[in-house]
Every structure is written in C-alpha cells, then in structure tokens.
Symmetry: C2
Subunit: 129 residues, 2 copies
C-alpha cells in the first residue's frame, strides 16, 4: 500500500473476508473472497498452509462442511501500518456459541487486497515464569 | 523452519531479542541481536521500517537515547506455527513504569533466526459497532 487506506476501509475489507469465511455456497464464496484476497494470495494458520484464493475458498468449504452453519465475524478494529494489518475474529457455530477466537495478520498488496494472511488461534498466553 | 523448534527455544530467542532492545552499549547490542536476527532481517513497526540487523541495532540505539534506561521484556509465551511466531512484550522506563505494550510477529528463517519482524503497539481494540 503506497498510501493509507480510507477510514473504515480495512474494517470493510476484513468484514468481507469474514463473510467469505461464512459463505457455504462455493460460487458465492469464491466471488466474495476474490473481492478482497489477491488471486495468488497465501494463507497459513495452525492447521492450513495454502496459496491462491481458489485454494483458500476450497479450504473454507471443508471447514464449513465440518462445522455446518459456522460463521466468522471481526471482533476488533483493524490495526495497520506500512501495509500490514491485524484484526481479531470469532468463529461461532450454528447455535451461535463461540468455537474459537483468533487473530489474523495480513500484508496488503498495492491494490489494497490481502496478499499474505497469517492466522493464529486464541489470545497470547501470559508469561508465567 | 523445516521442523518444530525445541520446547522453550522460541521463548529464549524472544528473550535474547528483548535483551538486544534493552542494551545501551552499541557493540554489545549488535552482538546480541546478531545471535537471533538474520543479517538481512527486516523490521517494521508503526514508527520504523528498516532492513538489516545493523540498521535495527542503530534504530534501537536511537530509541534508547530517547528513553535512557528503558528495558524490553517478553510478557507472553511465544505462539508459533509454520515458522511464524508471535509474542507480546512491554517497554518500561528507567523507573520501571510501563511505557508501551506491543506484539511482535516474526517469520523465522531456516536457521531459526528472525527474518522478518512486524511490530504493533498495544492491544487490539474491541469492535464497538
């Protein structure tokens, strides 16, 4: 990103991304994701490591097949600098109960799309020693 | 990273990195940082964007000149997967009072050193809308 995104633009982007994660229709899901993820964007979380928006859409399809009715929503503002962003999200089940919270870190490309996404589950554990 | 680091290894690495951030002696600081940061490692936070362990050491020198006696310490465990890590830290002043908390995300190289470090200040703000 050569310039700062407009106020709220990254929240909107993250919301669209979460909508893609919540869309059970494969065609719709890919269309939603393509609006905010680079065609060659990469995604890695503790359980997945993949490249390309199509692979991401397929991966989400598998997640939603395992957790029918699951939904993802952004739970924080989006913090960003130098084209790097972070935001928190929550996955809920069909019953609305929380399944897992996480934080995604993302690098934006020159078009303002997500180029590289790194997800982590849960909050950081406070140091005990 | 082709394999998982040994238990506690990343905590030790992060502690050494924080020790580098706390070292006012320029020669010692560079030596400490070189133990854990790749020679061509990059660092970006809201205020800095630089490449190379020497540039990082110089940047820290400026920070410590601004905040004499400041210290950095890891405040969480280190969460990692696929060679990506995150941990929380705190900067305290010479009086021991907290100046700022943050989270660093880092990509490890094949040697287990920090290749790319992206820092953020403070906790994520809870979504209000």
């Amino acid at each position: 990103m050569d310039s700062l995104p407009a106020f709220g633009a990254l929240e909107s982007l993250a919301d669209t991304y979460c909508a893609g994660w919540s869309e059970s229709n494969a065609t719709s899901r890919l269309a939603i994701l393509r609006a905010v993820v680079a065609e060659d964007g990469t995604y890695v979380n503790p359980r997945h490591d993949l490249a390309g928006v199509q692979a991401l859409a397929a991966c989400i399809g598998e997640v939603l097949a395992t957790w029918p009715g699951a939904r993802f929503m952004r739970t924080s503002t989006v913090d960003q600098h130098h084209g790097m962003a972070r935001f928190a999200w929550r996955m809920t089940g069909a019953d609305g109960q929380s399944i897992v919270d996480g934080v995604d870190f993302a690098q934006l490309n020159a078009s303002g799309k997500l180029q590289r996404i790194v997800g982590f589950y849960g909050p950081l554990e406070v140091r005990q020693d």
